[in-house]
């Protein structure tokens, strides 16, 4: 027996196309519609809705909510896109961030950013073991459009990282564990507001996501985890314009395996909306201010036991919390030495400040200066 149906199906199979790009665009379109209906926040059933709903629907809603939350959890490791909760959070952040004022400093102004972090240095004494030293750091940056500016660091006492070889105790004694403070002024051209040309990044979230996923923004390996971190790279301590920030959030809303953590606190105790992605044994967490859409913190959490056995699952491996960036008119202290020659292609030499061994002025190198 024939079948014309069989022929139709064979023709159809030959016309099938890869729908992954289409899915990304459609998901974003639907998320926009959901957000327009109030799906991202907790403004729930409007009065008319409550009035027309029979009780049995209310029960169904509760059951469905439980089932769907479970489904979202089950899907979190899939490649189908982020669960609804994470996507909704990112779409909400996109709306808020896109409505914020620009942070671009005018000539004579500076972009001011500040961060608190747990950071580390690795020290390798001659003939000895590599020693990882951890300490807290408060860092402030003032960067002008022409690349001049100042950055200061206040480092807390150094400690040995968990699992450090016993010999590292001697290394720590040798270099000293005491807190340190430093100030570095920079001549024009020595610093940069951003390392990526924002003007060349697409505002179309699907195109932007594709570029992030294929490592065509900052380089690095392709993949969702790297793309997620690159979103943070472009947001932190930068003058990224609001439209780009919004596009970055919308691009991240189409990344697979991004999870919503709900409202969580950073290491300074500040609350924000948490999103996470797991990669190479670490849960990368980003925390956002729901009022501004700004990145307020990021941290890495150990997922399994570390290779050296030093850190337990659930340990905070690193963290950084950001103060709100703003544009200011002045540096807090004038530079103690002339800020010249300017840096060419970022190449710089540090000149120490007499009487202040921890301070320096960064200027252009003589080598590069002669080539100018």
């Amino acid at each position: 027996m024939i079948d014309e149906l069989e022929l139709l199906r064979k023709v159809a199979r030959a016309r099938d196309v890869d729908g992954s790009d289409a899915e990304g665009r459609a998901r974003i379109a639907l998320q926009e519609a959901i957000l327009a209906a109030g799906g991202d926040d907790r403004r729930r059933a409007s009065p008319w809705l409550v009035a027309v709903w029979p009780a049995r629907v209310g029960i169904a809603v509760a059951l469905a909510a439980a089932v769907l939350l479970l489904a979202a959890l089950l899907r979190s490791g899939s490649t189908a896109g982020p669960p609804p909760a994470a996507a909704a959070v990112l779409q909400r952040l996109a709306r808020v961030a896109g409505a914020q004022p620009t942070l671009e400093p005018r000539p004579g102004q500076y972009l001011y950013t500040a961060s608190h972090s747990l950071t580390s240095d690795t020290v390798v004494p001659a003939g000895g073991h590599a020693c990882e030293l951890i300490y807290t750091q408060y860092r402030q940056n003032w960067v002008a459009r022409d690349g001049r500016g100042l950055f200061t660091e206040q480092n807390g006492p150094r400690h040995l990282a968990a699992g450090a070889p016993a010999a590292c105790a001697a290394t720590l004694r040798q270099i000293g564990a005491a807190p340190e403070t430093s100030r570095d002024w920079a001549a024009p051209g020595c610093l940069a507001l951003h390392t990526v040309d924002f003007a060349k990044l697409p505002r179309d979230p699907v195109k932007l996501r594709a570029r992030l996923l294929t490592g065509r923004v900052e380089g690095g390996p392709p993949g969702a985890a790297e793309a997620f971190i690159q979103v943070a790279d472009l947001l932190r301590e930068s003058d990224a314009p609001p439209a780009l920030r919004a596009a970055l959030y919308r691009a991240a809303a189409g990344l697979p395996a991004v999870r919503s953590l709900g409202t969580i606190k950073d290491q300074l105790g500040r609350s924000g909306l948490g999103l996470a992605i797991d990669s190479r044994g670490t849960r990368q967490e980003l925390i956002f201010d729901p009022a501004t859409g700004g990145l307020i913190a990021e941290q890495g959490i150990q997922l399994g036991r570390a290779r050296n056995g030093g850190t337990r699952p659930g340990s905070v491996l690193y963290w950084t919390s950001y103060d709100r960036a703003r544009v200011v008119d002045h540096l807090p202290q004038p530079a103690p030495l002339p800020l010249r020659p300017r840096c060419i292609q970022g190449g710089s030499t540090a000149r120490t400040v007499p009487g202040h061994p921890d301070d320096a002025v960064l200027v252009g190198t003589s080598f590069l200066q002669t080539r100018r």
């Binding site: 139709l8 729908g19 665009r25």
Partner: protein
């Protein structure tokens, strides 16, 4: 895992919590996009698939809570969109089927450009309502009952339209023997 039987609950929940509608997207986007791509080509399918889910979300109150699966409802919206936005669908379809055949001439799937051309002509000659029923049946794998839900017509109407559509296509393909040869990789001219 949550199956299609949960669509009704998900859509009901989305009335109060709109973000739950995303579960409907996750479950059915692939099916809807594939159906549309088969009918209007991949490029147009992208826009229509996105519009299908946005429209479905906006009209979610009209979804019958008696229907367990949203698939027929979504495919019905998609079918209506084809007619609203692509009135020249029939002519395009004939072209696209030929292109599909050109993409895979005499391949292992068992049809060639001649078979595809005959089929395209047959589809182009169908009444649009008959074509919708036939393609929902053959390309979206809907049952008679689900086609009735998708197009909001009685099941009896689906049966009669499908029967007429199949007879028309069969006649255009000239004979059962011709079709058998076509599906086996030959052509009527091989006889």
């Amino acid at each position: 895992m949550v199956g299609e039987g949960d669509d009704s609950n998900a859509i009901t929940a989305s009335l109060a919590r709109p973000e739950y509608f995303a579960a409907i997207f996750d479950r059915h986007f692939g099916t809807v996009h594939r159906y549309l791509a088969r009918r209007v080509g991949g490029e147009r399918a992208e826009d229509l698939a996105a519009a299908t889910f946005v429209i479905a979300f906006e009209r979610r109150r009209s979804f019958s809570s008696d229907a367990l699966s949203a698939r027929p409802w979504l495919l019905g919206i998609a079918t209506n969109l084809i007619h609203e936005r692509h009135r020249d669908d029939t002519r395009e379809q004939a072209t696209r089927i030929r292109l599909a055949a050109e993409r895979s001439p005499g391949d292992a799937d068992g049809f060639d450009d001649k078979a595809a051309a005959v089929l395209a002509e047959a589809l182009a000659g169908l009444d649009s309502k008959q074509r919708d029923v036939l393609l929902l049946y053959a390309w979206a794998d809907l049952s008679y009952e689900n086609i009735a839900l998708a197009l909001d017509v009685p099941v009896g109407t689906v049966r009669s339209r499908l029967s007429r559509a199949r007879r028309h296509v069969r006649e255009r393909l000239r004979s059962e023997q011709d079709v058998q040869q076509l599906t086996q990789g030959g052509t009527p001219d091989d006889r």
